[in-house]
Symmetry: C2
Subunit: 289 residues, 2 copies
């Protein structure tokens, strides 16, 4: 069966595939779009990666990921900003190589508290400052920086941006080339989520919509507790309607971190996730036009 | 050394102690106040428990816990509301038996999604309705219902009240005998937390302040990842200043769910927690008097 035309397979869902393998799996499943990660691109080099993407006929829906800029002023922070500039250039190149409809969107994970620090407010200020510093560079490269709020359980060690409202505030302050990621796994619990999706849409800031389910009990490594849509506790109907009503018309990625799913054959995972997407998420979208 | 006069030992921190043992440990550590749980009260019966409390000379700072009223209309929901009415009566009796300054405060944990349900908005409406139904009963018993927002990682399976702002909204809608618990572990990550503590104070709704630290990595059972203040990532200074400035003058509980701490001798835990409280939290309070 064919995948939904707006479905995109985020490479992290088949984490152990090379870029060439991920492209082949995506094509084989009839999926039109792929979300690319930097590490498998680095494994083969940007030139080879752009050629593979260009030859594939696939759209690129996003590049994961930049960010991690909460370090205090010093060499570590400067290195992080330099690395984000490289990620912006890579994003521009890959999106240009992708089929029409590709999105030059770089997903940003803010980073956690620096080692030994408890200054959450200070870390959040440094995220704001980094976005302000990177925005002109992204604008001139034609890339949108997409701030991803992560679930509050990651606030200490992974991302001090914890709510969609906070991400929208950061995007608005940084400038027009900064948007947000709406990832159901990270925001589904938020009593304000529907209002903030509406606000993000009104302000033209929804840069990516990612779908993934919340499973219980949480596994020992909470990073790896994500599920295929329909397997967990999230109701995708109100969230998808809100994103749709907010005017988002881009590709929709499934990005699933789950050790069990990573251990299965890539083609099987792609087929299962694509089918779940059609059943659970795409059914909520306005028909393509 | 003496405990800080506003420090209260929540019984859950020495979970395996009986009420008599918990009282003896609290007294032995020079602590003036105790947060009581329903299960150890039920083990000996309410009459014996009130006599133990009255004889102890300790204040009662809160009773844990009621709530768990997200079930759909039917026998389970009616049983939950009946159980909450009993908990309100027990809270009134124990607070009346406690020393001057005891607080007739019943902590409420909302409950998670009913089995097989993904209707988060509906579950939240049932919490609102239950609070509305219980408020007059609590008012006539002289008891304050304290809605505790739990960390969003518990939204599916334990508490659909996920932020302090949401808890304050629920309290305001339910009536004057409903307040909120500010527990650092559950709210520290929230970009809105300081503003919501101020708002809760302005509206006279802070019914309890509980302190406990956020440790990483999270343990396999995330319920048990709580730490003694100072051992984790939370900065208690801005939170404690905000609660203090908001006009909260009641006892401050340490409530720590942690299997390692539960396995240690009660007296050692009480001394360690009391000392950590003096060092990390009490230093931020305006001096008494």
């Amino acid at each position: 069966m064919n995948a939904h035309p707006r479905f995109s397979l985020n490479q992290a869902t088949i984490k152990h595939a090379s870029l060439a393998e991920a492209i082949a799996v995506t094509q084989g499943a009839g999926i039109q779009s792929i979300g690319v990660w930097r590490e498998p691109v680095a494994d083969i080099g940007l030139d080879v990666a752009t050629r593979l993407i260009a030859d594939s006929g696939l759209r690129v829906s996003s590049m994961c990921r930049g960010g991690f800029f909460t370090a205090l002023e010093g060499p570590e922070r400067r290195a992080a900003l330099d690395d984000n500039r490289r990620a912006i250039e890579e994003t521009a190149a890959l999106a240009a190589a992708g089929a029409v409809g590709s999105a030059a969107v770089l997903v940003l994970v803010a980073g956690g508290l620096p080692h030994g620090s408890r200054d959450l407010a200070g870390a959040r200020e440094r995220v704001r400052d980094a976005l302000g510093a990177l925005e002109p560079f992204a604008a001139s490269a034609g890339v949108t920086l997409a701030v991803e709020p992560l679930h509050p359980m990651f606030a200490a060690d992974r991302a001090v941006v914890s709510t969609l409202g906070q991400a929208v505030d950061l995007a608005v302050e940084a400038g027009p080339s900064v948007g947000v990621v709406v990832d159901t796994y990270h925001v589904w619990w938020d009593p304000e989520v529907i209002a903030q999706i509406e606000r993000a849409g009104r302000l033209g800031r929804i840069a990516s919509y990612q779908v993934c389910d919340w499973l219980t009990p949480l596994p020992a490594d909470v990073l790896l507790g994500r599920g295929i849509p329909g397997d967990g506790h999230i109701d995708f109907t109100p969230l998808t309607h809100a994103v749709d009503d907010a005017g988002y018309v881009g590709d929709i990625e499934c990005e699933i971190f789950n050790a069990e799913i990573w251990s299965r054959p890539f083609t099987e995972v792609a087929a299962d996730v694509s089918s779940a997407f059609s059943r659970v998420v795409a059914a909520q979208l306005d028909p393509v036009g």
